[in-house]
């Protein structure tokens, strides 16, 4: 399946109008390279050959684990990606954690206090948060907390004087830089988790085994946490698996706002420069992460829910 995606992308970018060389030439506006240099470049990256030969060559290298060399950075794509990917994983993982913490908490509160004022505030509030475009929210928060109040740093992953700081301060510095991006990325999905969990929990609370548990005189807290919640949380896992593509998509925007050196900003640069190998590699990495996320969700599902078995 990954191969299918990669092939699709390969043909799309090669069919599309525009030449990567135009972009390169634009870089050297003052001293335009001679036609020979351009020709040499074309031959070096195999752009002079017909598309099907390029395709099979690329496929062959790809299977051998060689994704080619970036047109712009003149470095292997694999190293570029391995440099950037930890930042993206860090961001999305923390955002997921934030999402799980707040989303589940708010979902439980609003389900338990159904139709009270708290419930209404949470429901409407989460719908509003869910409708705010993340990049705008990020910008407004930067405006408030970084520009006007000066509490949090503007962008990047660490301060300029990072190397001069002591160990504890270094950690603190990183943390300060993480707060805004993680918050913005996590809050929208936390809102949707809360909404979803609320409706699931209300459904489960209407089931007969809850009635039975209450009849046996089990405390309300225990009913909710150990009987109802367990059942309501199972589909949430699938939701998390499914939300990964959207989280990655959101991280593209967030990374660009906070100049976060992750996969997202790499992908934008690649698209803007028509850096074919890099475009292919970033989209493939995105797809791989998504497939891995879904796989993980499936495995978790099997662990959490004893009714599911993959033996059959």
């Amino acid at each position: 399946m990954l191969l299918g995606i990669a092939s699709l992308v390969f043909f799309i970018i090669h069919i599309a109008p525009g030449d990567p060389l135009d972009m390169l030439i634009n870089q050297y506006q003052r001293n335009v390279p001679s036609p020979e240099t351009i020709e040499a470049f074309r031959i070096k990256y195999g752009l002079d050959q017909p598309i099907h030969i390029q395709y099979f060559k690329w496929l062959q290298n790809c299977l051998a684990g060689d994704l080619g060399e970036s047109f712009r950075y003149h470095r292997p794509v694999t190293t570029l990606i391995t440099e950037r990917i930890p930042f993206t994983i860090q961001l999305t993982f923390l955002a997921l954690l934030f999402d799980a913490l707040f989303g589940i908490l708010l979902g439980i509160i609003s389900a338990v206090k159904q139709y009270t004022l708290t419930d209404k505030i949470i429901s409407v509030g989460s719908l509003i948060i869910y409708s705010i475009p993340g990049f705008w929210l990020a910008l407004m928060l930067i405006l408030i907390f970084s520009v006007n109040l000066g509490w949090l740093p503007l962008s990047q992953t660490r301060s300029l004087d990072y190397d001069l700081l002591s160990g504890v301060d270094q950690f603190k510095d990183r943390l300060m830089h993480l707060i805004l991006p993680v918050f913005v990325l996590g809050i929208a999905s936390a809102a949707s988790t809360a909404r979803y969990l609320r409706s699931r929990l209300l459904e489960v609370l209407n089931e007969e085994f809850i009635l039975a548990a209450r009849a046996r005189g089990i405390k309300e807290k225990a009913v909710i946490f150990s009987h109802a919640l367990k059942n309501a949380l199972i589909p949430i896992i699938t939701i998390y698996g499914m939300s990964l593509p959207f989280l990655l998509g959101g991280s593209v925007l967030i990374e660009s706002i906070f100049s976060w050196p992750g996969m997202g900003s790499l992908a934008i640069e690649a698209v803007q420069n028509r850096d074919y190998p890099l475009i292919l590699a970033t989209t493939m990495m995105g797809a791989i992460l998504v497939v891995l996320g879904n796989l993980l969700a499936d495995i978790m599902y099997a662990i959490v829910d004893p009714r599911v078995s993959y033996d059959t």
Binding site: I12, F135, W136, S189, F246, V252, R274, T283, V290
Partner: protein, 370 residues
């Protein structure tokens, strides 16, 4: 009474519709009062954008007045009309209008569409007009410039109005493409089953495995992004979820008796799909389409924000926010207002979808945004 639009509705205690009509009539009247020279000018102009704005203005006036006039005449035989209305759609409509938040957002969306279509008439300034940059740039919001001006001294309120036009049309049209594609694709896969289903669904799996925003980014970045191209790309990248949903729905409908009997009387497949299967699976599609309009508007804004979608001289909420990001130290209003409008628009579509879901009584649908 019949001459005041909405007055008869108000008399019959149909407050929402009467109020809506009255507001609309007042709005149209105000626009006419202040801008009638512009409208006349536009009617004679050769520019299709301005001409259509003036034309839509006149059509709106005519429709508003005829509707309330016809209602005023007909309302004498109101009882007959009420006894005839008892279809499923009528009940859905009743449930929907009981939800005041959803009704309000429906009115808001209609209002936004009207304002967006009439943008050339309403806008106080030319959205591209740049003159005397030194004195007119970075003006904070005031009565002369409601939303302030940007780094080139352009009036942000006018730009936001034209941006609304682009955002709304991109949202609606791309969803239309994506929904029709997804519905037909899913229906074909679900109805025929077997090998065809397998092949078609594998393709959907491939598309679903993409982070959709990455795919849009890639396509919009690689092809040159005009408005039409953007609509096509957004439409053609987002139909997979609908296709999968419709397929599931069709699979369960296919086994029902009324389909079996249509097959028994020899109805051809395309007629069964078109007349029996799709209409029965349509109400969740309507809900998710409404949700998706918000998602599409957000995606367009995101792409334009990154500088990959619509590029600057064209006003779009996304690239206005991005211009605001560059000027974040000098003018908060540049990014604030377009984003606020964006949020309100998306929120109204989400609330409308919520209301529709409750009204149409579909199963809980969940969709995350791009």
């Amino acid at each position: 009474m019949a001459l005041i639009p909405g007055a008869n509705h108000l008399r019959d205690h149909r407050l929402k519709r009467g109020g809506g009509l009255l507001t609309l009539a007042l709005l149209l009247g105000l626009i006419f009062f202040f801008k009638h020279t512009k409208i006349m000018e536009f009617l004679n102009s050769k520019d299709i954008g301005s001409w259509s704005a003036a034309f839509i203005f006149i059509v709106l006036c005519v429709v508003t007045y005829t509707y309330s006039f016809v209602y005023a005449i007909k309302s004498r035989s109101k009882k007959d009309a009420d006894s005839r209305r008892n279809g499923a759609l009528h009940y859905a409509y009743k449930r929907f209008s009981a939800n005041s938040l959803a009704t309000f957002s429906a009115y808001l969306i209609v209002l936004m569409f009207i304002v967006a279509f009439l943008a050339p008439i309403i806008a106080p300034y030319d959205p591209h007009l740049i003159n005397d940059v030194i004195n007119t740039r970075y003006l904070s919001p005031s009565f002369t410039h409601l939303f302030g001006t940007d780094s080139l001294g352009r009036d942000l309120f006018s730009r936001a109005l034209f941006g609304a036009r682009i955002s709304l049309s991109i949202g609606i049209l791309s969803v239309l493409i994506s929904m029709s594609l997804g519905t037909i694709y899913g229906a074909v896969a679900g109805y025929f089953g077997g090998v065809i289903d397998n092949i078609l669904m594998r393709f959907v799996d491939v598309i679903m495995a993409f982070p959709i925003f990455f795919l849009m980014l890639l396509l919009v970045g690689v092809f040159d992004a005009s408005i039409l191209m953007l609509i096509l790309i957004l439409g053609f990248t987002s139909w997979a979820g609908t296709a999968r949903y419709i397929r599931g729905e069709i699979l369960s409908l296919r086994e029902r008796e009324f389909i079996e009997s249509s097959r028994a009387i020899g109805l051809p497949a395309h007629l069964i799909i078109w007349h029996h299967l799709i209409p029965n699976a349509l109400s969740p599609v309507l809900v998710s389409a409404t949700l998706m309009v918000g998602g599409m508007i957000m995606a367009e804004a995101g792409l334009s924000f990154l500088g990959i979608g619509l590029r600057p001289p064209t006003p779009s909420w996304g690239n206005m926010i991005s211009e605001g990001q560059e000027a974040v130290f000098t003018g908060w209003w540049i990014a604030f207002f377009p984003g606020l409008l964006l949020t309100i628009t998306i929120l109204s579509f989400n609330l409308l979808a919520d209301g529709l879901r409750d009204a149409l009584d579909t199963k809980t649908l969940m969709r995350k945004y791009v």
